[in-house]
Amino acid sequence: MPYPTDRKYTREHEWIQVNGNSATVGITDYAQQSLGDIVFVETPKIGAELTAGRTFGTVESVKAVSDLFAPASGSVTEVNGELASAPEKVNSDAHGAWMVKITLKNPAELDALLSASDYEKFVAEEAGH
C-alpha cells in the first residue's frame, strides 16, 4: 500500500494532512490492517484541545482497543460523524476516512513527524521484526 505523500505520519500510526492553518487527522492503512474489523471510533467533541503525543480518542476492533495519539496540538473544529455509524469505513479507506480536523497551535511540531517514505520504512521494520 503506497502511503500518500501529501501528509505526515506518526510512529503510533496516525496521519496528518495540513492545509494552511488547519489539519486533518486519521489512522494509517497499516493501523487498520493490524487492528482488524473496526467496530467503534470515539473522537473528542468540537472545541476540544489536543496536545501533540497525547491520546485524543479510541478506535476499537472486534478484538482490540487502541488509543488515538494526536500528531500535533490544536483545537478540534470538525469530527467525522459518519464513523459513529459506519466505523468499517476506516478499514475500507483508512487514508480517506478522517477522524478530526483541527486548527494547528504550533505547526513547527510537524517537523518531528515522518514523511511517507520514512513511515513506509518504519512499518516495514515493525512488520518484519
Binding site: S34, G36, V39, V62, V65
Partner: protein, 380 residues
C-alpha cells in the same frame, strides 16, 4: 549469573500452513496461533464468525490437549475426577464436564468421550494441558487404569457451522447423519483409516471435531482437502478471534474468564453438568457446603444499551455508580450485532432487565441484564 530459559512458543503441525495463508498470528497460552485470516481468503473476525453461523468454518484447535484413561477402573477414575456422571455415557457418547479442586472451583472444563468399554478420552484446554495431566495422573493413582497424555499425537481440526456435516460427509465413508450431537464415530477421512470424529465444538453451532495424526504432511493435506471440499458451502478458515466471539454468543465458558480456580460451579451456573447424586467426586463436599451456606454471586449476560464495548476485566457498576462486579468476557457479537458481555455480579443484580453500567475509560456506560445464551442455534 544463571541463564534465563527463553520461553518456547509452541506450534501446531499446521503452523506453516497458517503463515503461508497470511493469517495474523498471536501468542495464546504459549502457542503461536492464528487470530484471523486475510480478507482475500474470506477472513477477518466478522466474516469468519458469520461463515460459521451461516455456512461452515474450520479451525486448527490442535493446541487443545487429550488425556486417555483406559483399564478396568477407568470409569471409577473418571467419576472421581469429574463432576458430570460418566456412568451415563454409552460407548461413542460424550459429555461436557469439569475437573474440580476440593474447593469446588475449576481445574479445567473438559469434554469426556467414552471410546470403548473401559476407555475414556478427556479433551482439555491449551493453557492447562500440563497442569491437567499431572492433576489427572495424581488423582487417579488409586485406580487400576492407565493415564496417557496424547496431546501431541493429534492434529485437531474443528469443522463448524450448519453446513459442517455436509462438508465432512464429502470426505468420509462414515454415515454422519447417524451421529447425534455429543456423539463420536470413527471412519475413513481423506483416505486415513479409523479417524475419530466427534459432533462437538465450541461455537454454539452444529459441527465436528476430528482427530488426525499430527505429522505436518498429513495435517496440511487434510486441512487443504477440507477447504477444497468446503468451497461449495462457503467454508472459511477461522482463527481464535472468531472462536472467541462465537463461544461468547453461545455463553460457552473460557478458562481463566468465566471459570477458574477461584470460581465455583454454582457461581458459574454450570449446575446441570454437575451431578451431586453420583458417587463421591473431588469438589463435591465443598459444593454441598457452598449450596447450604448460599451462593452470593452469579454469571450474567449484559447487553450494552449505550455506545461502548465492554471488555474483559472492566468494572460493572450498579445504577448508582457503585462497583459491584467485573466483566469476564466482553466483545461485539458479530451475528447479533450487539455489544455483549458476561460478568460476575451479586445475586440481587441477576434478574433480567436490571439496569447496570460498565466502566469504560472512566465512564459508566449503560447496560442491561439479558437472558443467556445470547445466541441459540435454530432447531431443525
Amino acid at each position: 549469573m544463571s541463564a534465563v530459559e527463553a520461553p518456547t512458543i509452541r506450534k501446531t503441525a499446521l503452523n506453516a500452513v497458517h503463515r503461508q495463508m497470511g493469517a495474523r498470528m498471536v501468542e495464546f497460552n504459549g502457542w503461536d496461533m492464528p487470530v484471523e485470516y486475510p480478507a482475500s481468503l474470506g477472513g477477518g473476525i466478522i466474516n469468519e464468525h458469520m461463515a460459521v453461523r451461516t455456512g461452515a468454518g474450520i479451525f486448527d484447535v490442535s493446541h487443545m490437549g487429550d488425556i486417555k484413561l483406559a483399564g478396568r477402573e477407568a470409569l471409577p477414575a473418571v467419576q472421581h475426577i469429574s463432576m458430570n456422571d460418566a456412568s451415563r455415557l454409552a460407548i461413542g457418547q460424550a459429555q461436557y464436564s469439569a475437573l474440580l479442586y476440593p474447593e469446588g472451583t475449576f481445574v479445567d472444563d473438559v469434554i469426556v468421550h467414552r471410546l470403548g468399554e473401559d476407555e475414556y478420552l478427556l479433551v482439555i484446554n491449551a493453557g492447562t494441558r500440563e497442569k491437567d495431566f499431572s492433576w489427572v495422573r495424581d488423582n487417579t493413582r488409586q485406580f487400576d487404569c492407565v493415564v496417557e497424555n496424547l496431546s501431541d499425537d493429534f492434529t485437531q481440526i474443528a469443522i463448524q457451522g450448519p453446513k459442517a456435516v455436509n462438508l465432512l460427509q464429502k470426505l468420509t465413508d462414515a454415515d454422519l447423519s447417524a451421529v447425534k450431537f455429543y456423539w463420536v464415530t470413527r471412519g475413513t477421512v481423506c483416505g486415513l483409516k479409523s479417524i475419530l470424529m466427534g459432533r462437538t465444538g465450541y461455537t454454539a453451532e452444529d459441527g465436528f471435531e476430528i482427530y488426525i495424526p499430527s505429522d505436518e504432511g498429513t495435517s496440511a493435506f487434510v486441512w487443504n482437502e477440507i477447504l477444497i471440499a468446503g468451497k461449495e458451502f462457503g467454508v472459511v478458515p477461522c482463527g481464535l478471534g472468531a472462536r472467541n466471539t462465537l463461544r461468547l454468543e453461545g455463553k460457552l465458558p473460557l478458562y481463566g474468564h468465566e471459570i477458574s480456580d477461584t470460581i465455583n460451579v454454582w457461581e458459574a451456573g454450570l449446575d446441570r453438568f454437575c451431578k451431586m447424586g453420583k458417587p463421591e467426586f473431588i469438589g463435591r463436599a465443598a459444593l454441598e457446603q457452598s449450596k447450604a451456606t448460599g451462593i452470593h454471586r452469579g454469571l450474567i449476560g449484559l447487553e450494552m444499551t449505550e455506545r461502548g464495548i465492554a471488555r474483559d476485566g472492566y468494572k460493572v457498576l450498579d445504577s448508582a455508580g457503585r462497583e459491584i462486579g467485573y466483566v469476564t468476557s466482553g466483545s461485539p457479537a458479530p451475528y447479533l450485532k450487539k455489544n455483549v458481555a458476561l460478568a460476575y455480579v451479586p445475586k440481587e443484580f441477576e434478574p433480567t432487565g436490571t439496569p447496570l453500567r460498565v466502566e469504560i475509560r472512566g465512564q459508566g456506560v449503560g447496560a442491561v441484564v439479558v437472558p443467556t445464551p445470547f445466541y441459540k442455534r435454530p432447531k431443525k
